[in-house]
Every structure is written in C-alpha cells, then in structure tokens.
C-alpha cells in the first residue's frame, strides 16, 4: 500500500510563465519567489521555464547586490 502524498502546491507564476518582465527594481514581485530564508525557490515551485528561471535568478542576484533583497542566511 502506497503512502498518501500531499499534492504539490500550484506554481506561483500560474500555469504558463508567459515571458515575464523580471526587473531587479521590482522587489515586491521578486519576494514572491523567495523562501522565508531569502532563498530562491525551485523551478518546480515558481512554475517558470528554464529561461525565465534564469532571468529570475539574475534579477534576484542584482537586487541582493544593491541590498534591495537580503542574501540567504
């Protein structure tokens, strides 16, 4: 008998990523994709494709550099 698994939460970005505009200045939007510790969520949770996840990563790193977002810790 298999164990009951909780269904995964829906992706934050919706069903499709639809080429989002991810700007490092838009910290309110970027915060949605960070965990409680300030870590970037996985692609599974954000719902982004590879290219969009890379854009997200770049935007978060730029925001961290300017102290707009905290570093992981």
């Amino acid at each position: 008998m298999g164990t009951m698994r909780r269904p995964p939460p829906p992706p934050i970005s919706g069903k499709n990523c639809d080429d989002p505009v991810l700007d490092y200045k838009d910290t309110e939007n970027l915060r949605r994709f960070l965990s409680a510790h300030g870590q970037l969520l996985s692609r599974k949770r954000t719902g982004y494709c590879t290219q969009c996840q890379k854009q997200l990563k770049q935007a978060v790193k730029r925001a961290r550099h300017l102290a707009l977002l905290p570093f992981v810790g």
Binding site: R32, G38, R62, R64, L66, A67, P70, F71
Partner: protein, 166 residues
C-alpha cells in the same frame, strides 16, 4: 559606438540630507568625467537596506540612464569604487531608454519638486503590505518592528560584489 546604460547608485544619506542636487551631481559628474552623456537621473527611493553596507542601514537609490562607449568603463568603475559617498552601484547595458523615465526625471527637475529629507539611520521602514506567503517580515524585523540586523553586524563588506557581476 555609444550604448545606453542604466546605472543604479546607492548614495549615503548624509550627503542627501545636505542637498539632493549636490548628491545627484556626484554621480552625474563622475559619469561626465568619463565621457558619458547623462540622459536622465532621478531619485529612485530612500529605504532601509536589506543588510548594512559600510555601517549604513538606510540609503538613497539614484537611477541614471546614460550613453557611453566601452572605453571609459574601467576608469569609471574605479572612480565609483573610490568615492566614499557611493555605497554601491550597478551598471547594466540597456537596448533603449524605458518609457516614462524622461518624464519622471523632468518632474524631479521641476522647481516645486521637494525631495524628502531621509529619516535617521535606525528608523524602520513603513509596512509595505508584503506579499510573502509565510507572512514573515522580509527584512528580518521582529514583532516590535525593530530591526534584527545586530546579528549580522560582523562584517558588512563580506559579500561585496560591486562591479563584478556585470
């Protein structure tokens, strides 16, 4: 060939308190010195930093767009690193000037525009109605609204990436 660049500069609040135009001229003068043509420059925001930089917990962000060739970049970066009033900077190449930037910069240059005086360094940020799923304060404040930055006061410069990532 000149490229449009976007520059975000983190200014020390002490300079901003004296005079905003003087603070802005620190950036524009540095850009002009290295052959850049400043298209527009404006105050982006004044806010609490996510982590202290050079013992400053609040700072003013200045957003500038300028055209520049590639030859003066290294010297410009070196000048910005040496400038004590600029806490940090980020320069990115842009395909074109974003819409609305010129209007925002022009509004700031108008005679009746009043730049608010930055609050003291230990003043907490106004609640922003954050959209974090866990409900935690993204900047690490406790229930009393007091910042918890004392736990990370060790070495604020340990993660300095200035000018290295672009």
């Amino acid at each position: 060939m000149a490229t449009v660049y976007e520059g975000m500069f983190l200014l020390d609040n002490q300079v901003v308190r004296e005079d905003w135009k003087k603070a802005k001229s620190i950036i524009t003068d540095a850009l002009k010195k290295h052959g850049a043509k400043v298209v527009c420059a404006r105050r982006f925001d004044e806010r609490r930093l996510a982590y202290p930089i050079r013992r400053r917990r609040r700072a003013t962000y200045c957003l500038a767009f300028y055209e520049m060739g590639s030859e003066g970049q290294t010297a410009l970066r070196r000048d910005l690193e040496l400038n004590e009033n600029i806490l940090r900077y980020l320069m990115l190449a842009r395909e074109k000037l974003p819409e609305g930037e010129l209007e925002l910069a022009a509004a700031e240059d108008a005679a009746d525009f009043n730049v608010p005086t930055p609050p003291p360094d230990d003043a907490p940020d106004a609640p922003s109605g954050g959209r974090r799923r866990d409900g935690a304060d993204p900047l690490g404040s406790d229930e009393l609204g007091e910042p918890r930055l004392d736990v990370r006061d060790g070495d604020p410069e340990e993660v300095d990436l200035a000018g290295k990532d672009e």
